[in-house]
């Protein structure tokens, strides 16, 4: 093993690759997890006059600029110079930004936005306000992204406003039930009696009415009661209009691992696979390329001992590299360091399984280059197969993918690392699976050594 370490030390390119690979991978993954995609550049113009962005709605003052703030968080705002320009010129300036490529879209809030929005709670028939969005569709991907972003933000705003308007509508209905004052634009306020008070008044008058006419009053009383009771149901109904469907998500299978935590497990599993496979296969094949294998196994070293040494060396190296990688990823993602012993166990057992597969590849190929090529060609499809989600392919294909994944160490490694890192599922089953694979590939490598010299 010391000899192999010395040879590794004298292979600076390989050592640099082994160290830099996980470092670069962990930094890239870290940045990918901690930073979202680039915000779309959007030219934003609000033609609403300063001071006109407040709206009385449902008895509360609504600051429309707060909705602009939410929107600005989701976009990269491209400033539009509107000083000394008319509303039309200002809108054209925003469109120019799109046409020049400076912005992928322009979003224009019209001058009468607040008035029209406020009009929705009155009997004024001005119609809802309209926001104009101008797209640059040269880049379909970006166009789709900006559409999604703006639509999502406007949907949020619409939802919030719907809730406010529902509240206003309910207040009107409450006045129909309980009575009160209603504001009417361009006219005097109206004082409503309300169904409840109407019923009370009729009930009070009823004893003083001739018995022959009481039946008619009873009809009025019944109408008031039924109307009041039925209008009591309008509250939940209107609230359900604003959000008719609510989503409650229940994960039926697997743990509650977040995407970033799973990405960490995945990145470490991929690194462990590549490093261990390449080292184990390469160091074994090197013995043959250096013609040393025949000399070694003439009683100096047993063939099984040689395989154990190569797999062990690769496992130790990849364990160290993956722990360093986890330390690097820990700068970006929250990792539970109290679970470190479980990480080490999962990494060690997985590394041994990959080491056994590596020496089997090295024994079969018998050349460093062929071994390296086979390792890469084997690793990538295995990783992809192990990540095929159920339901994304035909059941028979999925079952085949599961069987193939179960025969190689990547899937159980991913499960073991996910369990060790994120407390997602049991750790024992994937460890036993990996141990069984280590023994199986070790036996295969031992068989392949018969024609190795």
């Amino acid at each position: 093993m010391l000899k192999d370490l010395r040879i590794l030390r004298r292979s600076p390119g390989l050592v640099a690759l082994l160290i830099l690979y996980p470092v670069v991978l962990s930094v890239l993954i870290g940045f990918a997890l901690s930073a979202g995609p680039d915000k779309p550049k959007v030219a934003f113009v609000s033609l609403v006059q300063p001071g006109d962005d407040k709206l009385e709605l449902g008895g509360e003052t609504l600051d429309l600029s707060s909705y602009q703030g939410q929107l600005f968080d989701a976009i990269d705002r491209v400033p539009v110079d509107c000083d000394g320009k008319t509303a039309l010129q200002c809108e054209q300036a925003a469109i120019d930004k799109v046409e020049s490529g400076e912005a992928i879209a322009a979003l224009v809030i019209p001058e009468d936005f607040t008035d029209r929005l406020g009009g929705l709670q009155t009997l004024a028939l001005s119609g809802p306000p309209t926001i104009e969005v101008f797209y640059n569709a040269d880049d379909p991907v970006k166009a789709a992204y900006v559409e999604d972003t703006l639509e999502a933000r406007l949907r949020d705003a619409n939802l919030a406003l719907t809730a406010r308007f529902t509240k206003v509508g309910l207040s009107y209905l409450n006045r129909v039930v309980d009575g009160g004052r209603i504001e009417v634009p361009l006219s005097d306020d109206i004082e409503l009696l309300g169904l409840r008070r109407s019923e009370e008044l009729v009930r009070r008058v009823r004893p003083h009415v001739a018995p022959a006419q009481r039946a008619e009053l009873d009809e009025v009383i019944r109408f008031s009661r039924l109307g009041r009771e039925n209008l009591d149901f309008s509250g939940p109904l209107l609230r359900s209009v604003s959000e008719p469907i609510r989503v409650e998500q229940v994960a039926l299978d697997g743990g509650d691992t977040s995407l970033s935590s799973f990405a960490v497990a995945l990145a470490v599993a991929v690194s462990l696979m590549f490093v261990t496979l390449l080292l184990a296969a390469g160091t074994l094949a090197l013995e043959r390329e250096e013609n040393a294998f025949a000399r070694l196994v003439r009683g100096l070293v047993s063939q099984t001992g040689l395989l154990v040494e190569k797999a062990g060396l690769a496992a130790v190296c990849s364990l160290v590299i993956c722990l360093a990688m986890l330390a690097g990823l820990g700068l970006f993602v929250d990792l539970d360091w109290a679970r470190l012993p479980l990480w080490v166990v999962a990494l060690a057992v997985a590394a041994l399984a990959f080491g056994a597969l590596g020496v089997a590849v090295g024994a079969v190929t018998r050349e460093v280059r062929a071994a390296s090529l086979l390792c890469v060609m084997l690793s990538l499809p295995l990783a992809f197969l192990a990540l095929v989600p159920s339901g994304s392919v035909a059941p028979a294909v999925y079952d085949a993918a599961r069987v193939i994944s179960a025969v190689f160490p990547f899937r159980p490694t991913l499960d073991a690392l996910d369990a060790a890192l994120n407390d997602s599922g049991g750790l024992v089953a994937p460890l036993l699976h990996l141990a069984a694979l280590a023994l199986a590939f070790g036996a295969l490598a031992r068989l392949a050594l018969r024609r190795f010299a």
Binding site: R6, E290, A292, A294, R295, L296, V297, R298
Partner: protein
């Protein structure tokens, strides 16, 4: 032929088959202490297979060898050493694997024996073919076995490098090491070997001194001016 009690190395009736092809058919040979034996024959005659079996790298299907693998030194045709280790590191590694009592002393001895003391700290990759072969032979000697097997030790070496290797091997034989080697170079065999074994199609057709081979050819009515012509005539007479 020397008897088993006198001989340092004895192989008796060694046979080896690869699928349907018989690589060796009951080959026997022996070599005395300090003797140099050359195994010669055309390509595919079974020379390397015989040496591999004598060295314990391959198992014979039949027959026996009186030495266990660890009791003979083995020098493969291609230098079996690590290019990224220095000369001294290669020797030290194999000295430890051979469980030499004092690995450092063994390394020093081999460096002196090979005349590579000044190159001790050079990487094996930086050595010439001749020097690599000297290190290769030195590694084969680290176990201090008294029998040394060499598979085409001077193949692909230039004449000067060949001469240096032979000086080294002859020195070992002079100190009592039994040397059995295979070669295609018949002049080298005639010049350095005490005895030659002629193999053809896995069969040992002759075992004796180079001079004796010429005498056999003459007895069979053939003529020759040197060992190479005698060898060719010998094989032709037997249909090879």
């Amino acid at each position: 032929m020397a008897t088993a009690t006198q001989s340092a190395l004895v192989a008796d009736g060694v046979a080896k088959r690869f699928g349907t092809r018989e690589a060796l058919r009951g080959v026997s040979l022996s070599a005395d202490r300090g003797e140099i034996v050359a195994i010669i024959g055309p390509n595919g005659a079974g020379k390397t297979t015989l040496l591999s079996i004598l060295a314990g790298i391959q198992r014979a299907d039949a027959g026996s060898v009186n030495r266990r693998p660890r009791e003979v030194g083995w020098v493969p045709q291609q230098a079996a050493l690590y290019a990224k280790l220095t000369v001294a590191e290669n020797l030290r590694l194999f000295a430890r694997l051979e469980r030499a009592g004092d690995p450092e002393a063994a390394v020093a001895e081999m460096l002196e024996l090979t005349g590579l003391g000044e190159r001790a700290d050079d990487l094996a990759a930086e050595l010439s073919g001749g020097n690599r072969q000297r290190v290769n032979i030195a590694i084969g000697l680290l176990g201090r076995q008294d029998v040394l097997l060499l598979d085409e030790p001077t193949a692909a070496l230039d004449p000067r490098q060949r001469e240096r290797v032979w000086e080294f091997v002859l020195g070992l034989a002079a100190r009592g090491t039994t040397v059995v080697y295979s070669t295609h170079d018949l002049q080298e065999a005639a010049r350095h070997a005490d005895r030659v074994v002629v193999l053809a199609d896995g069969e040992a057709l002759f075992e004796g001194s180079p001079t004796a081979l010429g005498e056999v050819v003459e007895r069979e009515g053939g003529s020759h001016s040197d060992f190479e012509e005698a060898f060719v005539a010998f094989l032709r007479h037997r249909g090879h």
